[in-house]
């Protein structure tokens, strides 16, 4: 029972590309370690917490101070490695020869429940001394884990689904059950692990937990061969997907990221508490224009998400709505196994019942999603194209006979997104990537013409293949005009097609516009920089929509 085991687990998971292998590795770890260690391991691996105790910058400075390293040298190393915790780990290796102290063998539990939290209680000087002490007494193979947890950057290629699978295999119980048990808060303890691996299924225990979310797949051509009548059509809103749960009278709001967000939306919790029935609803939270019955931009919703206990004036300024897509449980009865079309009937029935109560008007905060009824597939396409007009991203298409299973199940729900907007832009800056992309220039900024000047309008780092990234990296190194720290300004020469989902006015940017989800969709080697789009074209796109 020690941190060493967890470090080994990390190495094994990190150096495996096979799902089956990872599941096997996890299973073996759970079998050979204590419940409390397992519980912390799950906590870390599922990313339930990546609290940052100390910033990467702080850690680097501390290292410089203790071992008398020049700061610039660490920064140079960082460019190669792309992760502060790893840089320090590698540099510590160089210091380990001078280590004389006896090595400690602490457990994951001790590290996470005591050693690290205790650091926050110390004054800066004591804290620094304590970190130095841990560095010098911790066996070398544990340094990376320690530094990563400290800086809140612990990540390894393990999804929550993989954890679910391995526990499911371990105790021979359905994945759905494990998945449900893993939803929501997970406080690491012997009990929480025992609950997870309990072979007896007791639905009462899952009381406040949301169901695993069912997700839509990208549209497939084969769907068009089916009759349009087999499907239910909804708008695809750009808000926060959520489950609104009321069980035993208590309301809880769970995001798809499994965060409990009751405190951010107290007006919704209050209104829903007054409903007599218990229920679990799957839906979307949005900031809503009630006059025009249209969703407002996601950026407004962002003003609500991270704000706990919002004031009355904030609540009025950014009015929210919960739009229910689906009813999953009603008065303690789990109805996920019945067909979607029948769940919809139930949803409509209960909605009209709740709506008609005079003492609790819910229409100012809650509704069920409107359905769309295209005549045929071309008609569906027309709806999709119109989706920008009502600030949605396209359509969600659901098989009427589908049951509510979990995950990105194939062949039952699809998202049919409106085509992205596109502009051809000129690459003007590049920045070194981090993490897996360290040592390569992978973060790019793109510009559009305004008269004779190139004005930056978007940054993007995804969309190129690894081969293209390497090729572009080489080009960048040869065509740098100036270096500012990790950023290089480049000879304007390369044109790329940039796709994005939304375009809006922004006072913060020199270009006067901001785009959402920009990404590279094509390296336009066929185009010269004079062929790139102008800012004016971008403004035109904006007008076209609104």
């Amino acid at each position: 029972m020690s941190l060493k085991n967890f470090s080994e687990l990390f190495v094994d998971l990190d150096s495996s590309n096979s799902t089956n292998n990872k599941i096997e590795v996890l299973k073996n770890y759970f079998l050979s370690n204590d419940p409390i260690e397992n519980s912390w391991a799950i906590y870390l691996l599922t990313g339930k917490s990546n609290k940052r105790f100390i910033s990467g910058r702080y850690l680097k400075n501390l290292f410089c101070q203790i071992y008398e390293y020049p700061e610039w040298l660490i920064d140079t190393c960082y460019l190669k490695v792309g992760d502060s915790a790893e840089v320090i780990t590698l540099l510590l290796k160089n210091k380990s020869t001078s280590r004389k102290k006896k090595l400690s063998n602490i457990s994951l539990n001790e590290l996470l429940s005591k050693t690290i939290p205790d650091l926050s209680k110390l004054k800066e000087e004591e804290k620094n001394l304590q970190i130095k002490n841990i560095w010098e007494t911790l066996p070398e193979e544990n340094h990376l884990i320690f530094n990563k947890i400290l800086t809140g950057t612990f990540r390894v290629g393990v999804s929550i689904g993989l954890i679910t699978k391995s526990i499911s295999k371990l105790i021979n119980i359905d994945e759905e059950i494990i998945s449900h048990r893993l939803m929501g808060n997970f406080e690491p303890s012997i009990d929480s692990y025992q609950f997870l691996i309990n072979k007896k299924i007791n639905l009462q225990e899952l009381n406040s937990k949301p169901f695993p979310f069912l997700l839509a797949n990208t549209i497939e051509d084969k769907i068009f061969k089916n009759s349009i009548n087999d499907f239910q059509f909804e708008w695809k809103y750009d808000g926060i997907r959520m489950q609104l749960i009321k069980r035993s009278g208590n309301v809880s709001l769970w995001t798809r990221g499994q965060e409990l967000v009751n405190e951010s939306f107290p007006e919704l919790v209050k209104k829903m508490s007054n409903i007599k029935d218990d229920f679990v609803l799957d839906g979307e939270l949005l900031v809503w224009n009630f006059k025009e019955q249209i969703a407002l931009d996601f950026s407004l919703l962002q003003k609500r998400i991270n704000r706990k206990s919002p004031t009355r004036s904030i609540q009025i300024k950014y009015p929210i709505i919960f739009i229910a897509y689906d009813l999953l449980e009603i008065n303690g009865r789990d109805i996920r196994e019945i067909k979607l079309e029948n769940r919809r009937i139930e949803l409509e029935k209960y909605f009209s019942k709740w709506q008609n109560r005079i003492e609790n008007n819910i229409s100012d905060i809650f509704k069920i999603c409107d359905l769309i009824f295209p005549k045929d597939w071309p008609d569906a396409l027309t709806y999709k194209e119109k989706s920008r007009e009502n600030n949605t991203e396209g359509l969600i298409i659901k098989k009427k006979t589908s049951i509510y299973s979990s995950g990105r199940k194939k062949g039952i729900w699809w998202k049919y997104k409106v085509d992205p907007m596109q502009l051809d832009a000129v690459l003007i800056y590049a920045k070194g990537g981090s993490g897996r992309r360290a040592g390569l220039y992978t973060d790019y900024s793109f510009a559009l013409w305004k008269d004779q000047e190139l004005i930056k309008f978007a940054s993007a780092y995804s969309g190129l293949t690894n081969i293209e990234i390497k090729e572009l990296d080489k080009w960048i190194r040869k065509n740098t005009i100036e270096k500012f720290g990790p950023v290089r300004s480049l000879k304007p020469e390369m044109v790329f097609e940039i796709s994005f989902e939304k375009i809006q006015i922004s006072k913060r940017h020199k270009s006067g516009i901001a785009v959402r989800f920009p990404r590279i969709t094509k390296w336009r080697k066929d185009k010269k920089i004079n062929d790139a789009d102008s800012l004016e074209n971008a403004y035109k796109l904006m007008k076209k929509i609104s």
Partner: protein, 328 residues
């Protein structure tokens, strides 16, 4: 201070060149006279009128490119004269036959480190400390994040990696010359006692090493259509050039790894596409370079091969060593 042109050895067209002797060191294009530090292909080019190297390097080179080249050889430590310049080869510990080259002219000593390492390697001569006034050193791994583990530890990790997956065929990618033989030598001292296969290019080099008196474990030359069961649980050494493309389709149920110093960095490990990386290098790490700079007692140092900015600045600031630049 002298101008660049007045140095005994300088950079010309991207190569090290001694004008006084009209001789090039590891030139990348055909010249009249070339000194070759070791038999890796990135230090050798076809078409030179005359090559000069250690005896071992000459044998390895001929094995790789054929007898059709004119090579003059000298033993380690043996001095020879070209245009009044005393030249000698000294072990650099990189691979079998690799050398540093010392020039002495008018009581001024110059040392070209060649590729070198200080770590233990039973398949070649240990790096020899050579005193000099001017040092031209490689700095492939010239950052303090590079700190090599003992090769014995890496070999044990490799052994564990293979034996932990007895149902799999373990493909270990490594350079055919030098790294492969060093790994074979180390792995034969671990608990792994299964079969070791090697690709033809590696097999050939193994035989050359043996001919030169180096004790290398026998390996089986990999045939294209080996039965899958036979390969289960065994180790196969392959050159990195085969890691991409269709060659891997010859095997079933494999795990892959790359043995290289770069594998000490997670991002590079991930990007490389191998399942696993074993950080073992035939180049010096940061401490190794610093040690050589110090022990050579050089007052002036040049760096080439690699990012020299950081180590140069460090030596100037911390050790008050005069670091010079060739320019282009």
């Amino acid at each position: 201070m002298r101008t660049k042109q007045e140095y005994l050895i300088r950079y010309k067209d991207g190569n090290l060149y001694c004008e006084l002797a009209d001789i090039w060191i590891d030139p990348s294009k055909p010249v009249k006279k070339a000194l070759i530090t070791h038999a890796h292909f990135d230090h050798f080019t076809f078409g030179c009128e005359e090559y000069i190297s250690t005896r071992e390097t000459a044998i390895l080179l001929k094995e790789r490119v054929g007898d059709n080249i004119k090579i003059k050889t000298f033993e380690y430590g043996e001095e020879f004269k070209i245009n009044g310049i005393n030249i000698s080869f000294h072990p650099s510990g990189h691979i079998l036959g690799s050398c540093q080259i010392r020039f002495i002219f008018a009581e001024e000593k110059w040392l070209i480190s060649g590729d070198f390492k200080l770590q233990k390697d039973d398949t070649c001569k240990q790096y020899e400390i050579v005193k000099t006034d001017y040092l031209i050193s490689e700095c492939t791994f010239g950052l303090p994040i590079f700190k090599w583990d003992e090769s014995k530890k890496i070999a044990n990790d490799i052994s564990k990696w293979i034996t932990n997956s007895p149902e799999k065929t373990s493909l270990l990618f490594c350079y055919s010359l030098g790294k492969a033989q060093r790994l074979l030598n180390e792995i034969s001292q671990t608990n792994f006692k299964g079969n070791i296969y090697s690709h033809d290019s590696i097999h050939k080099m193994n035989n050359s090493y043996k001919k030169l008196g180096i004790d290398i474990k026998d390996t089986i030359k990999i045939e294209n259509k080996k039965k899958i069961d036979e390969l289960k649980g065994s180790l196969i050494l392959l050159p990195p050039s085969l890691s991409k493309g269709s060659y891997l389709k010859n095997f079933k149920n494999i795990q892959t790894a790359f043995a290289s110093g770069w594998m000490s960095i997670r991002a590079l490990r991930k990007r490389s596409g191998y399942d696993k990386g074993f950080p073992i290098s035939d180049h010096a790490d940061w401490d190794g370079i610093l040690e050589v700079v110090k022990k050579s007692e050089a007052k002036n140092v040049f760096f080439h091969h690699g990012d020299s900015e950081a180590i140069s600045k460090f030596l100037v600031e911390k050790e008050s060593i005069n670091v010079l630049f060739f320019g282009n």
